[in-house]
Symmetry: C2
Subunit: 353 residues, 2 copies
């Protein structure tokens, strides 16, 4: 059972499965129109085939849980439209999400994605750049070909989101070069503004585009988009928790991976803000060049936890999910769809990454 | 004087300067809205600043000649519209062109672009991936925000072009892995189909988008777009000639650079098609692994020339430019604008790359 909505966990699985059954055929059709080379890399990223092109088993999570496509579908249903209305929005959002992971993995040097080699690691950097471009172009095209005024409005919204995604990623990369303490250090507000752009804008689009395509009025669309932004910030914070304390078997990444990479994530920034003594200690443990010692990584995780960084990130996520829930229930939205959205947002705690 | 139109060369310069004066303020304004990190990389690519952000002298060609923006402006004028109508199309096209060069340079490992370090060389691969994404997103946004039905039509056209660009680049990369001779070898028709996608589609969009934004009927828009496609194929062939026989001082690349990189460009494919004996010889000289010997490169250039590969590429360019010219003069287009377009297309022989 989900504590917040009373919907059983199996309902969440049913929600995700229902959206996937609706969206995946259109997504596969769109991807099948790509050039075979970027098309294969895209199919690998969606979990449909192995590196050599061999199709994978029908049901697997190698392409992610499909949360964003479910948000698009539920967004349409929340404004009283048929689930089918959201299909092209859901396809566009999944394409943009996958493009963005593919290029971010290049920038961040991430070699693994969902327990498999990332695209650049499996196919080479140049091919991964091109495959990302192909997905980006396809996303825009899918919406541009959606007929009606709703399609044009959705496309305008998506172009704003694309700019925000890039802006958020640029900030994230810059943060790594900024000092740990003193003037120029990253603060929590800046970090959350980055997370809102990098993660929140796409979730906001996922929720809002389905509703926009259905021709919904501004008020419910704004409530859905606002909720998506809060989720994005919460989602990033939970991802940050998993990047330090997540189980490697679940995350597919080594324990403490974000600390090993010296990432100034939310728990780290919160620890330094809550305990002025923590900053210099963490800077001493992680802020040097060369490989980070295993003992220093473990010590840093403990310092962050002792200073309250872990609790802060969890509390923030709870606060943001609560605010999003309240706003949605207060808006003129279909309660059954909002129930499912709330249950999905609660599942972020488990599905994060 | 241009042999084809009787317009003096200084008129060409005036055409380019006039378009640039009209378009560059809008282009700079759009780029100024980017995050400062990708914004600086974009400004460097447009020739507005050095690697460290220092503004460059007002008039220079470090950002290219601006042919595509001129095509957009002349395309609008050719259908009787004011030059100003084309500004957002011209901005979008210049943004897409620069995005595509930035990402292609990563894929091709090209370290130089217009006599300066390419973006990935100057700023790192990750930053160049992100800056390219930023330009791509901005291009789509600029058109999405252009009001009116013309804007929506132009955006739909641009999304098709973006897909073609990626498809053409994917083919170009694949060609490098295919055999020199025998089954699976690249033929001239395939090569020209690649060039039409990789180079022609954007020139077609440049010419057609300005006219589409002006609300022109299908016939003149189709004539302009068709001409742009022929130019693209011709342009690629001329670029290929320069890649083998171009003056390093003009191209900014070492002599025979395409042969050193074993690229199967049009003159090479034509030589092998015209003289069956040339294929095995060229495969022997260039088709091996490891660095290519300087003497082998010079010998290969001579074999290609002797087999008629150079003449073929030149004749093809001439044929394509002639066909484009005839189609434009036969269409309901303003003759003065077509005169300028023809003069510009002739200048490709000098401005290629």
């Amino acid at each position: 059972m989900s504590a917040q909505t009373g919907l059983p966990t199996s309902t969440l699985q049913a929600t995700l499965l229902r959206s996937r059954s609706l969206v995946e055929p259109a997504l596969r059709k769109a991807v099948s129109e790509l050039h075979p080379a970027p098309g294969r890399i895209a199919s690998h990223a969606f979990g449909w085939c192995d590196e050599d092109g061999t199709p994978t088993a029908a049901a697997n999570d190698a392409g992610g849980k499909g949360i964003r496509q479910a948000l698009a579908v539920l967004g349409a249903q929340a404004v009283g439209a048929a689930a089918e209305t959201a299909v092209s929005a859901a396809v566009a959002i999944e394409l943009v999400h996958t493009f963005s992971l593919m290029h971010d993995d290049i920038m961040d040097g991430d070699e693994r994605r969902r327990h498999r080699p990332s695209a650049w690691k499996a196919f080479g950097t140049g091919q991964a750049v091109l495959a990302g471009d192909a997905l980006f172009a396809l996303a825009v095209r899918v919406l541009a070909e959606t007929p009606g005024e709703g399609g044009a409005a959705a496309l305008r919204q998506l172009t704003v989101t694309l700019g925000e995604l890039v802006h958020g990623q640029a900030d994230d990369l810059l943060f790594e070069t900024r000092p740990w303490t003193g003037p120029g250090a990253v603060d929590i507000a800046e970090y959350q503004a980055m997370a809102e752009r990098k993660t929140g804008s796409l979730l906001a689009s996922a929720l809002g585009l389905g509703a926009a395509l259905a021709g919904a009025p501004p008020e419910p669309v704004a409530a859905l988009s606002w909720a998506g932004r809060q989720w994005g910030i919460a989602f990033q914070g939970i991802d940050d928790l998993l990047g330090i304390w997540g189980d490697p078997r679940a995350t597919g990444k080594p324990a403490h991976s974000d600390l090993r990479r010296r990432k100034k994530t939310l728990p780290v920034l919160a620890a330094m803000s809550l305990d002025p003594a923590a900053g210099p200690v963490l800077a001493g443990l992680l802020g040097t060049r060369g490989p980070v010692e295993e003992a220093d990584v473990r010590r840093a995780a403990q310092v962050i936890e002792d200073a309250g960084g872990r609790d802060f990130a969890l509390r923030e996520a709870r606060r943001l999910l609560d605010a999003a829930r309240e706003r949605m229930y207060a808006a003129p939205l279909a309660p059954a769809a909002v129930d499912e959205l709330v249950a999905l947002s609660e599942s972020l705690l488990r599905y994060a990454s």
